[in-house]
């Protein structure tokens, strides 16, 4: 089953590292906080998604089974 991204908005400090690594599914709002594509990740993006998750300095980003 495809995975889905989930951000903990309390832990997220808007470092934007995630959006740089996964622009296909993460954009930034006008204050630099991530807006996640609510749809399940398209196949092929899992590896980038995992990279984005591990790049988050506050461990705010997660991958969840959709």
């Amino acid at each position: 089953m495809a995975d889905k991204l989930l951000v903990n908005p309390i832990d997220c400090k808007g470092h934007a590292a995630c959006a740089e690594l996964l622009p296909e599914a993460i954009t930034l709002d006008e204050w630099g906080y991530p807006v996640l594509d609510p749809r399940p990740l398209p196949p092929g993006l899992e590896r980038h998604a995992r990279a984005a998750v591990s790049a988050c300095p506050t461990l705010a980003l997660r991958l969840q089974r959709a």
């Binding site: 903990n8 908005p9 309390i10 832990d11 997220c12 400090k13 204050w31 630099g32 906080y33 807006v35």
Partner: protein, 438 residues
């Protein structure tokens, strides 16, 4: 403050009020003896779980604002307890953090034993060994002392099987949100935490936790005694039973009525002026025009037509000498200040939206201000750890819709209000420091 209660003879014909004292005992606190004489003994089932089926048949939903089916939460907690082999906790939520509401304080003041009965029965239904009653600290009437007395009396008489602890809720808007409540009970600030897991799985001290509004528990205690058919004798097929409403008409004073779900909105507001407006559901609620109000009944199926919800049962009529935009701007400023400021989108959007509304209220606002409000509202939707931003932006959008003519007037530097005296109740003190939340 504990409000005047309101009931009529036609109510008595359908068996209302159920939760509040009968009209002939108007405003009389129901002591333990009166309570037992009116409602009979506490009907323990002596088996976990059996009450859940009755609650399902009754169709009871949460009265704290979300209208979530109660049996599903009871079942979820009960299942989680089995799965994790953890004894659950049950919490009665009487925080009533919504400043315009007074129904929970009134219920706790007048019929405390009904709520305490519900707490015991819910604890039995899910097999809990911890029961907490969480109530608002800053009320005029000393509800806390009243409850301590009631709890002690019940203990003495051996009524309660699970000892009840009383906990004070900080007087903050978010203090009644369930994860904020748990955080407070765990000795931290009363601000929301991020789910998942759900608190029904892992809540207080990681135990499966049931949080229900105090009114919900009072209904539960009566369903346990009288059964689902009795409960369904009033209300609609889809949304059965009665509810407590806090009604504020032109004098602004709260009046608590117990009404069947599905009654015409106008029975609560009385006749409305043609250009009048009504706020339904409080500060996370929706403004509707008098024209809409005439078509609506107090149930979610009907209110959805005006993008409104029953919420916690607040119905407020705006007086003709007040400006809906000025009133909304003042409340939104309060809501923005009450944001826990933990989540980026909420921290950024709410103060900006509040400032934009203040600008609109002040008149001759910038060209792009309305577009800004729309865009910020879209951006913050669904992106906080709690629903505070969503509720706030729903309230704002409804104001801009309902008072569109007034907005145009303000654009031209005018305002229709004859009186600048604040109408909607907003607490004076807002949180400034971490300690305000504890």
């Amino acid at each position: 403050m504990t409000a005047v209660t309101d009931s009529t003879e036609s109510d008595a014909a359908v068996g209302l009020p159920r939760l509040l004292p009968p009209p002939q005992e108007k405003r009389a606190r129901q002591g333990l003896e009166q309570h037992l004489a009116r409602h009979g003994r506490l009907p323990y089932r002596d088996r976990a779980g059996t009450l859940i089926r009755d609650i399902e048949s009754a169709g009871l939903t949460g009265r704290g604002g979300g209208a979530f089916p109660v049996h599903r939460k009871l079942q979820a907690v009960s299942d989680a307890a089995d799965r994790y082999r953890r004894t659950p906790a049950v919490i009665a939520n009487g925080a009533e953090s919504e400043p315009a509401s007074d129904k929970d304080a009134t219920l706790l003041w007048l019929s405390p034993h009904l709520v305490l009965d519900g707490l015991q029965l819910a604890a039995e239904a899910v097999g809990a060994d911890t029961a907490i009653l969480y109530t608002h600290a800053n009320r005029k009437n000393d509800v806390g002392a009243r409850l301590r007395e009631a709890i002690a009396q019940r203990q003495e008489r051996g009524i309660d099987r699970v000892p009840v602890q009383l906990a004070e809720a900080p007087a903050r808007f978010l203090a009644g949100q369930e994860t904020a409540l748990l955080s407070h009970l765990s000795g931290r600030a009363a601000v929301p935490t991020f789910m998942p897991p759900r608190i029904t799985e892992r809540g207080l001290g990681n135990a499966p936790t049931l949080v229900q509004n105090v009114e919900t528990l009072a209904h539960l205690a009566l369903i346990a005694r009288r059964g689902p058919r009795w409960f369904r004798a009033v209300g609609t097929e889809q949304e059965p039973g009665s509810m407590l409403a806090t009604v504020r008409r032109l004098d602004g004073q709260p009046k608590i009525s117990e009404v069947p779900l599905g009654i015409p909105l106008l029975t609560l507001t009385g006749e409305l002026r043609q250009d009048g407006a009504v706020l339904i559901g409080g500060y996370h609620g929706t403004w509707v025009t008098a024209g809409q109000a005439q078509q609506l009944t107090m149930d979610n199926a009907s209110l959805a037509k005006a993008q409104a919800k029953v919420g916690a049962g607040i119905v407020i009529t705006l007086p003709s000498d007040r400006c809906g935009i000025v009133e909304t701007a003042r409340v939104v400023r309060y809501l923005a200040l009450e944001s826990a400021g933990q989540c980026g989108p909420c921290l950024n959007a709410l103060p900006r939206i509040a400032a934009a509304l203040a600008e609109i209220a002040g008149g001759r606002f910038r060209k792009g201000t309305l577009e800004d409000v729309d865009r910020w509202s879209d951006q913050v939707a669904g992106r906080g750890a709690c629903h505070h931003p969503d509720g706030t932006t729903r309230f704002v959008a409804s104001a801009l819709r309902t008072f569109a003519a007034e907005v145009a007037l303000h654009k031209a530097g005018r305002c229709s209000a004859a009186s600048k005296k604040p109408f909607l109740p907003v607490p004076q003190a807002t949180a400034r420091a971490e300690t305000d939340w504890i």
